[in-house]
């Protein structure tokens, strides 16, 4: 039986696979973090989104984001702060479909801009966002040691 990829809201039973995908990408298992994400972003808050791309019962990738109002002086916009795709299924459009889906959800909340933030040495994910038409924002991230 052929299962086509489908994008839907994440469910509790997807969590173990999301943790596994994230661990394979980052080298760190964070089950408590992802349980918290599901609690905060997988619920009924209309501005928060935790989506997965599934083929049958297999999670191929995930994306997390939300609409934030007036943070950093910015008018309401969508923020994507997590996206991941199983390494062996990359280059098949899963990331593009996930990003398109969350952007559509953002549009549904009335915003017309999407932003993300990531380490500049993360060439793979930077190249992905660039390939999706994202450009440098008019913001600069700053930090210092505490």
């Amino acid at each position: 039986m052929i299962h086509l990829n489908k994008i839907r809201a994440a469910r509790r039973r997807d969590l173990a696979q999301v943790v596994e995908i994230d661990a394979r990408i980052t080298g760190l298992r964070k089950p408590a973090y992802w349980a918290g994400i599901l609690r905060r972003y997988g619920g009924r808050d209309p501005g928060r989104f935790f989506l997965v791309c599934v083929q049958g019962d297999r999670v191929q990738g995930y994306v997390v984001g939300e609409v934030r109002d007036w943070e950093f002086g910015s008018p309401p916009c969508g923020w994507v702060f997590g996206i991941g795709v199983r390494p062996e299924t990359r280059l098949r459009g899963t990331g593009t479909r996930l990003l398109d889906a969350i952007c559509e959800s953002f549009r549904g909340r009335g915003v017309d801009k999407v932003r993300t933030l990531l380490p500049r040495d993360n060439a793979l994910v930077l190249a992905f966002f660039r390939s999706q038409g994202m450009m440098a924002a008019a913001f600069t991230a700053l930090e210092r040691d505490l």
């Binding site: 930077l126 660039r130 038409g133």
Partner: protein, 134 residues
């Protein structure tokens, strides 16, 4: 941010070839379009050929054809054939505190430039150009 003339010519040439992957593009066509001297362009294309980004065909129907992977080759890959972004300054001793602090800021700018060029593939650049045309 300014790139050397050869680097810019190499980027434009690589993008022209990548935009027409099945076609042999003549050197004269590129030279005319970008106002480059044939001698200068030949040197630039020679470097792209040695980096296996293009292949050359001789003869009357000759020209250059893109032979890289436009989804993988980044602007930085092409730039690095011609110049270094963020080349470390020649060591001078002793460095004063203010000079070291300035070096830190300049290094920050270099890192940002490298990350930007390294994250944009030729295909992404062509998409960007198409969107600007539309």
């Amino acid at each position: 941010m300014k790139l050397q003339k050869s680097t810019l010519l190499a980027l434009c040439s690589a993008l022209e070839f990548a935009a027409q992957p099945g076609r042999q593009v003549s050197m004269a066509e590129i030279a005319q379009k970008y106002g480059a001297s044939p001698h200068h362009l030949a040197k630039v294309l020679g470097k792209l050929r040695r980096a296996r980004l293009v292949t050359a065909a001789r003869g009357s129907g000759g020209g250059y054809r893109f032979s890289g992977n436009a989804k993988r080759v980044t602007l930085l890959d092409v730039i690095a054939l011609f110049e270094r972004i963020g080349a470390a300054p020649a060591p001078r001793a002793p460095r004063r505190e203010l000079e070291r602090a300035l070096d830190q800021v300049l290094a920050e700018i270099d890192e940002t430039a490298r990350a930007t060029f390294g994250s944009i593939t030729l295909e992404t650049m062509l998409k960007l150009a198409r969107r600007r045309r539309a």
